[in-house]
């Protein structure tokens, strides 16, 4: 019996990282993606390489995952990141009050956070609000989500993975481990046989799981972002306050991305941004860097963002964390789903899921993605 065959559904950051991890451990991998690479959640994200500081106080587990992955990504894709650190800035007494808990939580989560004089922060980032009271430097960074995925997929491809973009999953016979697909370019349909099926379809994970009779509890929420046509800062600028709407400005090439907000969405494929969200983004971002009001708006976008429903919370509580589901549990053995999480932690998420997949397939090979250098995103993946 040759190497086991794993089909990965979804070529976002999760699917790409899983393909890379499994391709290094022996199984044959086929990635099936309805659209282009990163045409789902990953493509639209705010491109922030999280240091985890934002979640240190209220979601320490996510915070630890972020800082660990942040440091690993710097080793495996050094040229794929803008590494200028980030700043948490305080503008009001209320923000200052949040500082002690913030610094202490960062320390607990192993996130290097260093306070710098307000004057120094204004020197480093001249467009910051002059009324700045305090600033804390943390190892945030910036990546390009599309190229992040291309790097993982190009490396997976070189290690034997097949990447089928514009190929839609139209049916799953999980007992016989068969995935029926339609090549959207030729219109032809076909069946792919596998030993295991991985569902990394992000916001559509619920739909894909249902095809196999499994259930994934995902709250299809969305986030709005605005891009202005000027690079306002070299570092990621965060508001020193509990996570709220529009409190991050991320530089990206010659533009800046202001965001984000969140609301629950009925139809993932047709998201309209509630008007007040954009005002909210400009209101908060405008406090951080007043100039955003004068910069030309370059793009307004809404990203479907799957927030994991905490099991048993009846859909009320969600977490930024991620979860692996083995659907053997709900009558769909052969399907494994990975949901939630962030692009920053894609490698770590993939490691956990690949461990589960390898265990199920009896492949005992250690994960190598912590040290394996990724290929350039330009290397190509034959798709």
């Amino acid at each position: 019996m040759g190497a086991p065959h794993v089909i990965v559904i979804g070529a976002g950051s999760t699917g790409a990282a899983i393909a890379h991890d499994l391709a290094l451990r022996g199984p044959r991998v086929t990635v099936v993606e309805r659209g282009g690479v990163a045409s789902g959640t990953t493509g639209h994200n705010q491109a922030q390489l999280h240091s985890g500081a934002r979640y240190a106080v209220n979601d320490p587990e996510s915070a630890r995952e972020c800082i660990e992955e942040n440091m690993l990504l710097r080793k495996i894709m050094p040229e794929g990141l803008e590494l200028n650190d980030g700043l948490f800035v305080a503008l009001t007494e209320e923000h200052l009050a949040y500082r002690p808990a913030f610094l202490e939580a960062c320390a607990r989560c192993g996130i290097p956070a260093r306070e710098i004089p307000a004057a120094r922060a204004l020197e480093l980032e001249p467009r910051l609000n002059p009324r700045l009271l305090a600033a804390i430097q943390i190892p945030d960074g910036v990546f390009d989500p599309y190229r992040f995925c291309l790097s993982f997929l190009a490396t997976a491809h070189q290690n034997g993975a097949r990447i089928l973009t514009f190929t839609e999953v139209i049916g799953i016979d999980v007992s016989r481990r068969v995935v029926r697909v339609r090549d959207r370019r030729s219109g032809q349909t076909g069946a792919l046989e596998a030993d295991l099926i991985v569902n990394a379809a992000g916001p559509w994970a619920g739909k894909v799981a249902a095809l196999a009779g499994g259930r994934v509890e995902v709250e299809p929420s969305a986030g709005a972002m605005v891009t202005v046509g000027a690079r306002m800062c070299h570092r990621v600028i965060n508001l020193l306050a509990p996570p709220g709407d529009g409190d991050i400005i991320v530089p990206q090439r010659q533009t800046s991305i202001l965001g984000t907000t969140s609301w629950t969405v009925a139809d993932l494929d047709h998201i309209t941004i509630p008007p007040h969200h954009l005002e909210q983004i400009f209101a908060v971002a405008g406090q951080l860097i007043p100039d955003v009001h004068r910069a030309p708006v370059r793009g307004v976008m809404a990203a479907a963002r799957p927030l994991l429903v905490v099991p048993g919370s009846g859909g009320r509580a969600t977490t930024r964390g991620f979860a692996c589901y083995d659907h053997a549990r709900d009558g769909a053995d052969g399907l494994v789903s990975m949901v939630g999480g962030k692009t920053t932690t894609a490698r770590g998420m993939a490691e956990k899921l690949s461990d589960m997949v390898c265990a199920k397939l009896g492949v005992n090979v250690e994960c190598r993605t912590r040290t394996e250098r990724l290929l350039s995103y330009r290397a190509g993946m034959g798709a």
Binding site: S39, L81, N84, E123, H234, R235, R253, T272, M301
Partner: protein
């Protein structure tokens, strides 16, 4: 306030019309996604939606643009028909979908570092870096008449990348990169049409970089 108009999309078997209704501040990409809801077989590429990934290039009424940052209101002609065609000079995979790999491979061949110095003027603290201006979207390659007829031509994007390596090597071997492009199918095939510079959404000015590199080769290292 909404806009209702016709998207006339070039498909392999000919033109197909879609009547779509989108908010008046919608982008061409939003209109395409509206059309895709009517006909899921419609093929086009998109990812970031804010002109930094470079995947959604296409021709709108004959001119190369990025779908994600081109507002419908600005380009919909009076007759409310928006003609969408795929980029030229890149292998067509279907409808508005092209394969960017030939472009990626050429830029990879000249080994352009993805990262550059962020600020040209002096800044406090460590020198910040950022991604290159060029988002490798292929608009320039589509607009270039030479790239259209000579497939062995390096093309504006790759030649601009070579010029960028020469300007900011970041450890790359500049001499070997210049040797690659300093020939008839590289720097010296460009006819100074400047259409690449006209359509570039990221102010890379490929034609200017090509001519600048010609000057450097002709006049030697004076800067």
């Amino acid at each position: 306030m909404n806009l209702t108009f016709t998207l006339r999309i070039r498909r392999p078997q000919g033109w197909a019309d879609f009547t779509v209704t989108v908010p008046d501040d919608a982008y061409v990409l939003d209109a395409l996604e509206a059309a895709e809801r009517h006909d899921p077989t419609l093929l086009f590429r998109h990812a970031c939606h804010h002109a930094s990934c470079g995947s959604c290039g296409l021709r709108v009424n004959g001119r190369e643009r990025l779908g994600c940052v081109t507002r419908v209101a600005e380009v919909a002609s009076r007759g409310r028909v928006l003609k969408l065609e795929p980029l030229r000079n890149l292998p067509r995979l279907g409808d508005l979908l092209v394969d960017h790999q030939p472009l990626f491979s050429r830029i990879d061949a000249v080994d352009l570092p993805p990262i550059r110095a962020a600020a040209s003027e002096a800044v406090a603290g460590p020198q910040p870096t950022r991604f290159e201006n060029c988002i490798e979207c292929g608009l320039c390659v589509s607009a270039c008449p030479v790239a259209g007829s000579d497939s062995s031509y390096w093309g504006p994007a790759a030649l601009a990348a070579a010029a960028r390596v020469a300007a900011e090597p970041r450890g790359r071997d500049v001499a070997s990169v210049l040797k690659l492009v300093d020939d008839e199918h590289g720097l010296w095939r460009c006819h100074g049409v400047f259409e690449c510079t006209e359509v570039c959404p990221a102010d890379v000015d490929p034609a200017g970089l090509i001519m600048g590199l010609r000057q450097r080769l002709l006049e030697g290292e004076r800067q």
